[in-house]
């Protein structure tokens, strides 16, 4: 038994990444799904079998991922770092590791995978084997992104996600799927150009630098310890900017966000859930790890710009969401808006801000997945996404109405629901931030010392607009008279949908009441990051993490 446990400790991370890939390879060999399965017809036995297999597989993956969750119930396994010098002459290693931050992202990934697979049993009818294979390959690459401890490996997984996601949108998507999926791929690859350039620039400066082994250049460990001292500040600024642009395509940050509404609108519901829930978090995770984790000096100088971008992101996209006529687009823009809180929290450069940013990453993952599920359940029944076509659904679909309302409340930041904790941490962090302090000292900003506070204040506007578009949307969709068109045709949520939404709602409430269960998973990572940002005048003291918690 002890041997088995130590084996799992040693190779747990690799197994975790390979497990979905294994399922992706098994699925094509399941019995064939008859070609006669149409969009609305009854399902064949084989199709049901494939669905069931996928659900079981995803649950298994999730349970396996939970094994290392540091809680009294689950912490069976303490995964060890894995390091194998893969291509030493290029400084490339196969290095995996985990910490609190990686862990909550992994759990989010596998959890949303399970939710998305259950949703797929309702919404996906055609070419099931290809679909589930792609979904599981996507999961593998996502897990790889969050567990990689080598910049090259990170990049490899980051780009690996591209093709499965492309096919998921392009095959099972809506009418304009060709355009949307290609746009998604090209935008992402455009972002990768900057990522690769940035990572290559890091290599250029670290290669041959004092105390750096060539074979270990891309290890996070090396970047963490040697980057600041070795790379000149100007170069750091450039690399930070390149990486920031690369990740902001994924996040997305205005003006690189235009792929997202298109991709969301065309993607099938379960894929939208994953896209909003986790794929955007890859960008956020990259910002946290790379930009703000490894480049503290550059981050201090560029934090004002990041804060301004954050405000634009939050307020502008909230405004755009307000005028959408397409329900799914509205939710997509609200997604972009919420991701603005992540970068606002990061720009604060203090523990509370970082804490909030990571919390928002998690909470938005759950809430946005649930919202897309709600939209999908409506679309599945009506085959339209135009808000104008809806109306009065509250009377015929009370369960969908209930969950949609509930998730909207969570999204607009109602206290004691999950988003509230994250967003209030971000606001608190940015309001108390001294991120501009060094610039003030240098006399560059003069009377701008209130900028960060102003940024926080403006962002609060985003919450107000958020409340406006969500409530207005709810009013138009669920209240009023039921139109002739839907008389007798509209049905309520079925069991699988309720299962997904209720599970998500459970977590919304649980972490809303006790955010500490989440924050204590990752706070050591965030604290360590924040220690890099002590400002030289002594006035700035690290804000205690206690304030940040409930």
């Amino acid at each position: 038994m002890a041997d088995v446990l130590s084996f799992f400790n040693q190779y747990y991370l690799s197994i975790l990444i390979l497990l979905p890939l294994l399922f992706a390879l098994i699925i094509p060999f399941l019995p064939d799904q008859p070609a006669s399965d149409s969009q609305d017809g009854p399902e064949s036995k084989q199709a049901k079998g494939i669905h069931t297999f996928a659900v079981l597989a995803s649950v298994l993956i999730h349970l396996f991922a939970m094994l290392s969750w540091t809680g009294s119930w689950f912490g069976v396994i303490t995964p060890k770092e894995e390091l194998y010098h893969w291509l030493p002459s290029f400084g490339i290693s196969y290095a995996l590791g985990t910490d609190g931050l990686s862990q909550i992202m992994v759990i989010l990934t596998t959890f949303l995978l399970t939710m998305s697979v259950v949703a797929s049993t309702v919404y996906i009818k055609t070419r099931l084997k290809l679909y589930y294979s792609m979904l599981f390959i996507l999961t593998s690459s996502l897990l790889g992104v969050f567990l990689a401890r080598d910049a090259f490996l990170f990049l490899l997984f980051y780009e690996l996600e591209l093709i499965p996601m492309y096919l998921l949108i392009a095959i099972w998507g809506g009418p304009r799927r060709d355009y949307a999926s290609m746009k998604f791929v090209l935008y992402t690859l455009f972002g990768s150009v900057f990522l690769i350039a940035g990572i290559l620039a890091i290599f250029f400066y670290l290669d041959g630098a004092k105390g750096v082994e060539t074979s270990e250049i891309f290890l996070f460990k090396t970047l963490d310890t040697h980057l600041v001292g070795t790379i000149p500040l100007l170069a750091q600024l450039w690399i930070f900017s390149a990486l920031f642009i690369g990740f902001s395509v994924k996040l997305p940050v205005v003006p690189f966000h235009t792929w997202l509404p298109d991709a969301h609108v065309e993607a099938p519901t379960p894929v939208s859930m994953l896209l909003a829930g986790i794929l955007l978090k890859m960008g956020a995770y990259g910002l946290v790890r790379f930009c703000f984790g490894f480049f503290p000096e550059a981050a201090v100088s560029l934090a004002p710009a990041v804060a301004v971008l954050a405000v634009i992101n939050i307020v502008y996209t909230a405004g755009v969401a307000l005028v959408q006529t397409d329900l799914k687009k509205l939710i997509a823009y609200s997604s972009v808006s919420h991701m603005g809180f992540v970068i606002l929290g990061l720009a604060a450069l203090n523990t509370t801000g970082f804490n909030g940013a990571v919390f928002v990453m998690f909470s938005h993952g759950i809430v946005s997945a649930a919202l897309f599920m709600c939209v999908g359940s409506l679309y599945h029944r009506t085959h339209t996404r135009m808000i104008a076509d809806y109306g009065g659904f509250g009377s015929v679909s009370p369960t969908i109405f209930y969950f949609f309302m509930f998730m909207s409340m969570a999204s607009l930041g109602l206290p004691l629901l999950i988003s509230f904790a994250g967003e209030s941490l971000v606001f608190y962090g940015s309001f108390t931030s001294n991120a501009f302090h060094t610039l003030i000292q240098l006399g560059k900003l003069g009377s701008w010392q209130w900028t960060m506070q102003a940024a926080a204040g403006f962002s609060a506007l985003g919450i107000v607009i958020g409340a406006a578009y969500l409530l207005w949307m709810l009013q138009r969709v669920f209240f009023g008279p039921l139109s002739e068109r839907w008389q007798g045709k509209m049905t309520d949520a079925n069991r699988s949908e309720v299962l997904v939404l209720a599970t998500l709602a459970l977590f919304v409430i649980a972490y809303g009441f006790a955010p500490k269960f989440l924050t204590h998973q990752y706070e050591d990572v965030v604290d360590k990051m924040a220690t890099q940002y002590q400002f030289p005048d002594g006035k700035y003291t690290l804000s205690s993490t206690k304030e940040g918690r409930e």
Binding site: L87, F152, L156, L167, M182, L186, F203
Partner: protein, 538 residues
């Protein structure tokens, strides 16, 4: 055995390391046998010529393997054996570098032979075996190009490959497109050869009448010393002509005009040969000669950067609009030549080693793609991209393989193409921050390229089956016809997926080859200052 060889000849062979060119001798023997068979009154048999050539090429591969074990591997272990011992008759430098290139060439031709089998049988001309005679000639030329260290040898080898290629392109005598392509190729090729020859003759003049690289380097060094950094007026003319000549051969923009037409008109296996084998040979020769020139005239490397950027941009942008899959692969070849030229700009140890690694991966992914195209053309007789629509429903395996080859060409992980591109750009970065723009342009270009590669994938996987695909029988119709193509595709697939993961041995071999070749020995008396060296760049 030895007693059969006259002592004089034996002495000559031993003194001149003739054993090192055993593979070439084998290929030559196959060529002559095929030629004699074609002229003899014996029964004409296309099949026999094919088997003979395949066996000969296979034996050449074995002989290369033996050479590696007996000659190069000990060299790797023991640095005392100098490269001078690898010289053959003072005109060939058969070192590890040339071993790598020759192995790639032979392997490429071996695959092309497997691809041609059914094609040539169906479109056989009146003289059986002729195709294989010419193909072996082309391979022989390419192999000699890789080792030539003498201007005359270089030119002869270049022309052997060139003229053979013209004939191969025009092999389909009844086909108007093939004839047009051959004529175009001949005219363009002839003109470019003339330009190159003019450049080489100037080099011959400038170096005081030497044809051997080492002597040229020596002479130039002495002649140029009094000039300091100022140059003799003839040098720019000479370098422009030589570079233009090679750019023609490599189909680098703006000298790429012939490529699409020739690639489209030529028989598809010949297109595969031109796009892979001929390019590898060209790079082999270019690396040797340009190394000699760039060590002396380092600033001229910037001309190469212009060629590189033009090639990748024109190649990728024009490829976006192509409807014919062979034309698309032609433009994609131009783009890939552009990427590879970026490594020539920096010309560092790591740069050229990455270039070699790139050539290795390029061999497999591009030949794999061509194998799929030929297989598909055999099935349906179509070459337009639209015909591939819905392929995954009828031939999922074929569609999957094509997808992987295309994604590798686009540089998407986890394929070897991704690693090759990454290493290439990484080595360019090492050359200094001056070249960062080159990398950004290269990366942007690979973004563009993904569009047209992915477009084919999209058609195959997503679109409704085209009439050509819909007409396909559910099961492969004849096993025999696929077997040889299937072998190529499978090997290429394994290599495309595996070369990335096991890049280390391949890359180390490249580094060793480059270290042994020029960077240490051939030009040992030259003070290398104009070229940035690995590790010394910053």
């Amino acid at each position: 055995m030895e007693s059969f060889i006259p002592p004089l000849l034996m002495n000559f062979m031993v003194n001149n390391n003739v054993a090192l060119i055993n593979p070439e001798i084998l290929i030559l023997a196959v060529l002559i046998t095929n030629l004699l068979l074609a002229c003899s009154p014996l029964k004409k048999d296309q099949e026999f010529s094919w088997w003979l050539s395949l066996t000969g090429t296979g034996l050449a591969l074995v002989s290369l393997g033996i050479l590696f074990v007996n000659v190069y591997f000990p060299t790797l272990m023991d640095n005392q054996i100098t490269i001078q011992q690898h010289g053959v008759m003072n005109v060939l430098q058969v070192d590890l570098f040339s071993w790598v290139i020759r192995t790639l060439l032979t392997l490429g031709t071996f695959f092309v032979l497997l691809l041609t089998r059914r094609y040539v049988e169906e479109k056989a001309s009146d003289i059986p075996g002729e195709f294989y005679v010419v193909l072996m000639g082309a391979l022989l030329g390419g192999m000699l190009m890789a080792s030539a260290v003498d201007l005359v040898m270089l030119f002869v080898a270049l022309e052997t490959l060139g003229i053979s290629s013209y004939i191969l392109v025009g092999y389909l005598r009844g086909d108007l497109k093939s004839a047009e392509a051959a004529l175009k190729y001949l005219l363009y090729g002839g003109a470019s050869t003339a330009v190159l020859l003019f450049g080489l003759s100037l080099l011959y003049g400038v170096s005081g009448g030497n044809t051997q690289y080492a002597a040229i380097a020596d002479q130039l060094q002495r002649q140029l010393a009094p000039f300091g950094h100022a140059m003799m007026p003839v040098v720019p003319v000479m370098l422009t002509m030589i570079m233009a000549g090679f750019a023609f051969k490599l189909s680098a923009a703006p000298f790429h005009m012939w490529t699409p037409d020739v690639y489209e008109g030529a028989p598809t296996p010949v297109t595969a040969f031109l796009s892979v084998v001929s390019k590898i040979a060209g790079f082999g020769a270019a690396i040797r000669l340009l190394y000699l020139l760039l060590t002396l005239f380092g600033q001229w490397a910037n001309v190469l950067s212009v060629l590189a950027v033009l090639s990748m941009t024109i190649g990728n942008v024009v490829a976006l609009k192509q409807q014919n899959v062979k034309r698309l692969l032609a433009y994609s070849t131009i783009a890939h030549v552009g990427y590879m030229l970026t490594a020539m700009v920096v010309f560092s140890l790591n740069g050229i080693s990455s270039l070699l690694y790139y050539l290795m991966t390029y061999l497999f992914m591009n030949l794999g793609a061509f194998a799929v195209v030929i297989y598909f053309a055999n099935l349906t007789g179509r070459e337009d991209i639209q015909a591939f629509a819905g392929l995954v429903r009828k031939r999922p395996g074929l569609a999957l393989m094509f997808t992987i080859f295309l994604l590798s060409l686009a540089g998407i992980p986890i394929t070897a193409g991704f690693f090759a591109k990454f290493f290439l750009f990484q080595s360019v970065v090492e050359g200094g921050t001056n070249y960062i723009w080159l990398i950004v342009l290269g990366l942007l270009n690979s973004t563009i390229s993904l569009y047209y590669y992915l477009n084919i994938v999209r058609l195959m996987v997503i679109a409704e089956p085209s009439d050509a695909v819909a007409a396909l029988p559910a099961e492969p119709n004849s096993i025999q016809s696929i077997s040889s193509l299937g072998v190529v595709m499978t090997i290429c697939l394994l290599a495309t997926l595996g070369l990335g993961f096991f890049a280390n041995p391949a890359y180390d071999l490249s580094v060793q080859a480059m270290t042994q070749m020029a960077f240490k020995n051939v030009f040992q008396h030259i003070q290398v200052s104009a070229v940035p060296f690995p590790g010394g760049g910053h």
